[in-house]
């Protein structure tokens, strides 16, 4: 971040490297209920990002001393596949993924009705299979859909998106090169029904006014993403209903 470079991220027509406008998201697609073993799951593609999320629980929490007698513990594990980045990543957690896992756990705990399941764990496993900037937002977005797919009681989903600054302009949803050579990055997540911020990070260099713009862009995008999340759930469960009706007719 904040690197001086000769790379031009915005062309003379005001378009970005991949042809997007300042306030345009990359293409996002979500599918719910894609894994058999998991209690809930979601597969998300976001530009070149490929993210799978799976939920197990509520289930018994081991070790027992980690149990909370008043509520369930939400444990998210963000993991990158060795082949998800250009230079092979050594398998297993590093400092970055440990930090992201912690932030995601905290954000998700806010929406789950944890007090209904004392002493138990809700495990959320997120695998980044292909990474291209914005994976923590993609992870949180996918994890929320997987939680809903698992039927975990929750107040809402979380929608997440980053905004940032490149070539002096505030833009939405930084791509890979924009992330590497841009000036600032602000990953944000909100609970759409209440607009409350549940994840916020920032690195780089921007003025308070630019930050306001970035927040507004990102919040607007979160609402758009929320619709994509809801649509994924509707598609998953309306198909089941059709199957059910088909079966009824057969009988």
């Amino acid at each position: 971040m904040a690197m001086d470079s000769d790379i031009k991220l915005i062309d003379e027509n005001g378009l970005r490297l991949d042809g997007r406008k300042f306030d345009e998201l990359r293409e996002i697609h979500i599918e719910a209920g894609v894994l058999k073993r998991a209690d809930g799951s979601a597969y998300l593609t976001w530009g070149e990002n490929k993210v799978m999320a799976a939920v197990y629980g509520p289930r018994e929490l081991h070790p027992r001393h980690a149990q909370d007698p008043s509520k369930a513990v939400v444990q998210a594990r963000y993991n990158m596949a060795a082949f998800s980045v250009p230079d092979r990543k050594r398998p297993g957690p590093d400092r970055r993924s440990v930090e992201i896992s912690k932030l995601l756990s905290e954000a998700l705990e806010e929406i789950v009705f944890v007090e209904q399941f004392p002493r138990s764990a809700v495990d959320v496993f997120i695998e980044v299979l292909e990474a291209s900037a914005g994976t923590r937002c993609a992870a949180l977005t996918a994890a929320s859909v997987a939680l809903a797919d698992a039927g975990i009681p929750m107040s809402d989903m979380i929608a997440s998106c980053a905004a940032g600054k490149i070539d002096g302009h505030v833009v939405l949803d930084l791509g890979k090169k924009e992330d590497n050579f841009g000036e600032a990055d602000v990953p944000l997540a909100i609970v759409p029904r209440t607009d409350r911020v549940t994840l916020l990070q920032m690195d780089g260099d921007m003025t308070a006014e630019e930050f306001d713009q970035a927040m507004e862009l990102a919040i607007g995008a979160c609402k758009e993403i929320y619709e994509i999340q809801r649509d994924a759930l509707k598609r998953r469960y309306s198909t089941s209903l059709e199957d059910y009706e088909d079966n009824e007719e057969d009988e």
Binding site: A82, F83, E127
Partner: protein, 263 residues
């Protein structure tokens, strides 16, 4: 944690198998439906996603330049690892690979290594100094039995679709990975006296013994692994080998159709 199975399911499965039937209606030597997508991961040098019934695996190949082993100064290095991530099963835990994952990685590795799938001599850049390293990483997303075949087939497909990233390392033009042979594994489970191909998880849970046979395009055997505490008769083993050669040919045809390389 051990995979558990309810007594009623177990009895039901035993009864079915006693009648010569399987829980999903397959013949004893019939594979589940296999769907393989090559080049699924853009950041990898080669990759494949396989769905074998509900078993779901992604294999990615990454390549780098490194030092050869001192005893093989002219040969590239192949490193195979498997991750049984907790996403794939309620019984998998995070952390370093345990014995299951280690056995899986080694069985797939053995097929590729002993079958001389990759021409490692061609991966030498500078004798004793610089060679290509080939990392085969297997990521299990959903576990419904028979990871040996799923991982082996996906790894083979990924290798057949791998491009050596020579340009990135300023070593000339990118070119396909030199692949000489197509090795495919076939895994059989023995339940009581019945042998069956490609066990699902519920079949694996009640199996007494397991046998994986890897063959190449000549029908030769290149690697085998027997698992679990049950036993096979010599006749059983011969039968599995014969089946493996036949099924292997069908699978090889499928893999070849997914690759531009003519092997």
């Amino acid at each position: 944690m051990k995979e558990i199975i309810s007594r009623i399911t177990k009895e039901y499965l035993f009864r079915l198998i006693g009648d010569g039937k399987r829980i999903d209606g397959r013949d004893m030597y019939e594979h589940r439906e296999i769907e393989i997508q090559p080049n699924w991961i853009g950041t990898a040098e080669g990759s494949a996603r396989i769905k074998m019934g509900d078993t779901d695996v992604v294999v990615g190949i990454k390549m780098d330049v490194g030092e050869p082993f001192p005893d093989t100064p002219t040969k590239g290095v192949v490193i195979t690892s498997a991750e049984l991530i907790p996403m794939a099963s309620p019984n998998y835990e995070a952390g370093p690979p345990r014995e299951d994952a280690t056995e899986l990685a080694r069985v797939v590795d053995r097929g590729i290594r002993e079958g001389q799938v990759i021409d490692v001599e061609k991966l030498c850049i500078e004798e004793g100094e610089k060679v290509w390293l080939v990392f085969i990483d297997m990521h299990v997303l959903d576990f419904d039995g028979n990871l040996f075949d799923a991982c082996g087939l996906a790894a083979m497909t990924a290798l057949m679709n791998t491009t050596v990233p020579a340009e990135r390392h300023e070593l000339g033009e990118d070119h396909p990975l030199p692949v000489d042979h197509v090795v495919v594994p076939t895994t059989f489970s023995k339940i009581r006296d019945q042998i069956l191909l490609d066990p699902r998880l519920d079949e694996e849970r009640i199996a007494d013994a397991r046998l994986t046979v890897s063959t190449n395009e000549k029908g030769n055997l290149v690697a085998m692994q027997k698992g679990l505490s049950g036993t096979f008769s010599y006749e059983d083993v011969k039968n599995c080998i014969k089946r493996s050669q036949e099924i292997g040919d069908e699978l090889r045809e499928m893999l070849s159709s997914l690759s531009e390389q003519n092997i």
